[in-house]
């Protein structure tokens, strides 16, 4: 009887994941969708706790399990509640790494429990879960480090070949382990674990910080696959559906993101911004002269313009300036200026990052323009205000075939009559590429922290 109830719990869980994901893909139902998945998850977890039986025996060690659940819930809730909106991508990366670590730990324990002749391919499932889980764990930790600026890009020549070699060794050792060739299986298992962990590190390290969203999405998909291996291991349908759903959804999301940058996944992973690409960009060095504009002048031009388009980038997130930005928008609108936001699909550190930030500041959906409509409107725009965006407005993507971002669709801000760029300094953007836009005749630089600059602009505009 209890087994029947458990099956129903898992069925409800699986259906709620599918429904939840479906609802998450529509703005109107997204929040409910998240709750639906969370409810399904709770049902699956509590079902396992109370009804799971193996060989007619219930689970034991309830004290330990409850303790761990409580600790995890408290830390998880606090971390997720306290994190600043701007640090969201890092947080997602950490949580993803935790999932990977969990998969790896399960495999380690299951490997230790194996006695005698295992069922065919059971070992393979365990090793695969361990490999993918640990790659996802160490990779996510590096991605977290990069996003929060704690880890810099590292690469050495031949790193891709080195990485492929590690991967090949992992696969070969996995084969040895499965067919009982060579060293004792315990030694082999831990060598594979160590290699997988380091592969995760070497895999993410050379990839430029600007590509981290793609990497996180890919690692998210990896953890999904590791979860699915867990589903195979325990013959557990809800782990299987959940894992594979996320695995395939994550893979598609990764491809969508690559498409937004007009690059292939291979190009992101191998022809990374970090390595040779920076060297190419570095050769050119700073070029030409740029002109500065004062906040007062900038306020003047914007206050008397007909139409202003704001292009937000990661600089806006760093400065926590989304609310101030919305105030500027209101001040301009009070002056009768038409204000829109142009959102590049990969602006910020995650796709949709800017949308989340601006939504937090109550900016209306209708004022957000996606790439194509924005590019159509720049021609009729008087002033474009760029707030801490760089690579997504770099004309090199359109006219310099040697540039590492060549081919990426950009916001064609140069079509506007005037471009005002707010940056903290002349340093190149996250991808480490010089931006010719700053040296164009109709571009003016407005240096300073985005929030300070916006406040000055608001004060000046209100006086007009």
């Amino acid at each position: 009887m209890e087994t029947y109830i458990l099956s129903i719990c898992y069925l409800i869980g699986s259906v709620s994941f599918i429904l939840g994901l479906k609802m998450l893909s529509n703005p109107a139902t997204a929040r409910k969708g998240n709750l639906v998945s969370a409810a399904g998850m709770s049902i699956a977890i509590f079902g396992t706790l109370f009804f799971y039986q193996s060989n007619g025996e219930h689970l034991h060690n309830y004290g330990w399990i409850a303790g761990a659940l409580i600790i995890g819930t408290v830390i998880g809730t606090l971390a997720a509640r306290k994190v600043k909106m701007t640090a969201m991508p890092e947080m997602v990366s950490i949580f993803n790494g935790m999932g990977g670590l969990c998969a790896a730990l399960i495999s380690i324990v299951e490997f230790g429990r194996m006695t005698g002749e295992p069922e065919p391919l059971r070992l393979l499932v365990i090793v695969a879960g361990m490999m993918i889980g640990s790659i996802s764990f160490s990779g996510s930790m590096v991605a977290y480090g990069k996003l929060s600026g704690k880890v810099k890009d590292h690469s050495f020549s031949g790193q891709h070949i080195f990485n492929l070699a590690i991967l090949a060794v992992i696969v070969v050792l996995g084969g040895f382990l499965n067919f009982g060739i060579g060293l004792s299986s315990l030694t082999l298992f831990y060598i594979i674990l160590a290699l997988s962990l380091s592969y995760g590190v070497f895999f993410v390290l050379p990839i430029g910080g600007a590509d981290m969203p793609v990497v996180i999405s890919l690692l998210n998909s990896f953890t999904g696959i590791a979860t699915a291996f867990g589903g195979f291991l325990y013959n557990n349908p809800v782990m299987l559906t959940g894992g594979i759903l996320v695995g395939s959804a994550g893979a598609i999301l990764t491809i969508l993101m690559c498409k937004a940058m007009n690059r292939s996944l291979q190009n992101v992973l191998i022809g990374s911004f970090g390595g040779g690409a920076t060297a190419v960009a570095g050769d050119k060095g700073p070029q030409g002269t740029y002109k500065e504009i004062s906040a007062a002048d900038a306020a003047m031009v914007m206050g008397y313009a007909h139409k202003v388009i704001i292009v937000p980038g990661f600089g806006l997130a760093v400065a926590q300036a989304q609310h101030t930005c919305h105030e500027l928008e209101k001040a301009l609108k009070n002056n009768g200026v038409e204000v829109k936001y142009a959102i590049h699909p990969v602006a910020g550190r995650m796709p949709g990052h800017m949308n989340v930030l601006l939504a937090e500041a109550d900016v209306s959906y209708d004022d957000l323009l996606e790439l194509e409509p924005a590019n159509e409107q720049f021609g009729s725009t008087d002033v474009v205000l760029i707030l801490g965006a760089n690579d997504v407005v770099n004309p090199a993507a359109e006219n310099d075939p040697s540039s590492p971002i060549y081919g990426m669709p950009i916001l064609q801000v140069t079509k506007a009559k005037m471009v005002i760029v707010n940056k903290r300094s002349m340093r190149p953007g996250y991808a480490g590429i010089e931006n010719g836009l700053f040296f164009m005749p109709n571009t003016s630089m407005l240096f300073g922290d985005a929030k300070d600059v916006l406040q000055q602009l608001i004060a000046q505009i209100k006086e007009l």
Binding site: L35, I45, S54, V83, Y234
Partner: protein, 109 residues
């Protein structure tokens, strides 16, 4: 070869689930507006936290004197819970900011 074939045969249901879920995942995601990419990634991230069930089983089946398994299992349940709870809470926080109803730009409160 025979092992592989018999494995597939013995786990046929699972293979059906895998294949259907792959298509389902693709179908569900490919119509997502780019606005929702981040919350969606985060929500999906919470869903793969279902690996926690494996961790609970490992922990619950470990014999009470196997301290290595207990410790690793304990750790696995903690990190799994982090993934689930943290993932859902972060996603909810992101979505909280999306006001429903298009064009409703009125400042609340």
């Amino acid at each position: 070869m025979e092992t592989l074939l018999s494995f597939i045969h013995n786990n046929l249901e699972q293979f059906y689930i895998v294949i259907l879920s792959i298509f389902l995942g693709i179908e569900v995601i490919s119509r997502v507006p780019s606005v929702l990419h981040t919350p969606l990634m985060s929500g999906a991230n919470a869903i793969h936290g279902v690996i926690i069930i494996g961790a609970i089983i490992v922990m619950g089946e470990a014999s009470t004197d196997n301290y290595l398994a207990l410790t690793l299992g304990f750790l696995a349940v903690i990190v799994g819970t982090l993934n689930v709870v943290g993932g859902f809470v972060v996603t909810d926080r992101m979505l909280e900011m999306f006001k429903t109803g298009k064009g409703n730009s009125k400042k609340q409160g």
